[in-house]
Symmetry: C5
Subunit: 155 residues, 5 copies
């Protein structure tokens, strides 16, 4: 039995956790998903670590939505460093899925980014949990993106 | 018996520790609270670690109030990284409650931010210590804020 | 038997992993190479750690291609810190091979940088895995570069 | 018997170590003080760790004086992160006493800052080593400063 | 028998490793020196850790020469953080000897900085390896510099 985790925040303004949950259930209904919610992105690293170490998750997805101010970008930076450290401490992957409020020109566009990024990273989570290395290596160096159109390979 | 910790500073210009203490006692009078005070925000991480490891706290709240200068923001950044590392080392949550002196237009507004943020994060501390995951997940992705009005969910 | 690892990303827009793989096979056909691909550069540190610790690699090459935006530079910074921490945790070398999309004036130039940097760092990987310290020390302080012309020694 | 440590640098332009030493001896003559000097601020973290772990110090004071250039601020930032990590690794406090050469308008003012900050942080060191928590908590949230006039509490 | 390490890079444009080596042999011919060379400054931390842990060095000198671009400063920052972490993990000193290509107005001046800084830091390495604490403390707070004229003490 394979278990994965999803951790999201009450700070985020869109429920990417639900999108991720639905995507995992569509792609791999046999995977067990544990969902946790924390106040903000700085609370994500330890919540992920607990799921990886105490709940035996193969991998975890950390979902956050930093606000538009410089202090929000700073918090996201701190959280990202913590998520990387957490992975190094556990030898397990955390898929970081952050949508920055200021990376879109409108709320509609922001929602589109949230949906696309959450779906694609949820697939990454599944592929990692199932150790599907062929899928990843077939896509190496080809400019894939999440939330925005693929950049594609250099020609 | 559940124990939580509060650590604040002599540098801060408002006694958020007392507000947090009162909030915890209102919400969960059966919880034991240990309070510590340190000189400045960079002293918070180790003080939290001692409470988590040597005083058996379930979770801790780290309260600080960085001054208005760039060096103060830098110190807050260092402290935040330390607080995240501390959580990763202990597998326990630290609720960071920082109020930046320059995030308000007046001293009155600054006090209002202090009160609101300390109260709401004290409730987070209680909910985490009591493992009330349903409360958090019911609020996932809905744009909650502390110290400022909620941003609310994207529509 | 000597084993090395190569980890690259689906985010990168050029297949530097293949260039590195070919270079290693030309220079040292007796070395076994394990290749892994992850979504983005922040996923590199833990992937390297798994190869170093669980697959017994002597050394690993971490290949990434940050996009042109400030957030991409930030992600690369976080990844680099993680790669250094990973090395300190394992006492093994990781050769970081990052090409920044904005370090070239054209796509053609960018491809040239990718090819040159991947080839030269793949040779570094081989020399480190084979413990060829004389080769490195003979080149100490002589201004070697990867992806751009050598700066050469000060005269 | 209580032992504390003082670590300062040859880079600093004022002998704050001596001021700290004198302050400790006035306030708590029964405390044993071990003094170490290192070249620059980046050498402070490991020197503190050695005192805390191998010389059984209860707490240590790390004294530095970054120069006026951006690179000096960067070094101070790195040192501060290291000092916080050191505390997390040892569960003991390090009182950081840094005076930035550019925080004063004249050399006389700079000397005044050095004296005041070293004295007050030496008292912090003593209070922490003696576990005088009441003294700290009585001062919580009241805007104390070292090297500059107290900001005082918000009214 | 006392052993120290020197680690430098092929990226650097001046052979500071040789200067350091010569200085150590003049000052303390009975000290054994192990020299290693790595591609760039980000490779220094793990190379130092291996020398400290697996080759029993008392202390190590890490020599690097970041280029003139912002990305080079960023790499130096990452390396410095890694060097400090390495010291905290080993309880041994690493003397960082970095010369930034843009800290001089001409190549001649740059060479002078390299020579002076490498010589003085090599002496620091020797004094630390021989535990000559009196020499350091006699110089505490007196504004010593390496590569540039001493700033001297505040009067």
């Amino acid at each position: 039995m394979v278990t994965v985790g999803i951790v999201d925040t009450t700070f985020a303004r869109y429920d990417m956790g639900k999108i991720a949950l639905n995507t995992i259930q569509e792609l791999a209904p046999h995977i067990t998903v544990i969902r946790r919610t924390v106040p903000g992105i700085k609370d994500l690293p330890v919540a992920c670590k607990i799921l990886l170490e105490e709940f035996n998750c193969e991998a975890v997805m950390a979902i956050g939505m930093p606000g538009p101010k410089p202090i929000d970008a700073q918090c996201a930076h701190q959280a990202s460093i913590g998520l990387i450290n957490c992975q190094l401490m556990t030898n397990k992957h955390i898929i970081e899925c952050f949508v920055f409020e200021n990376e879109a020109g409108s709320e509609d566009e922001l929602i589109d980014i949230c949906k696309d990024r959450a779906r694609k990273h949820a697939e990454h989570l599944v592929r990692i949990a199932l150790n599907d290395q062929e899928w990843f290596t077939a896509r190496a160096g080809r400019g894939y993106r999440q939330g925005h159109p693929d950049a594609g390979p250099l020609l």
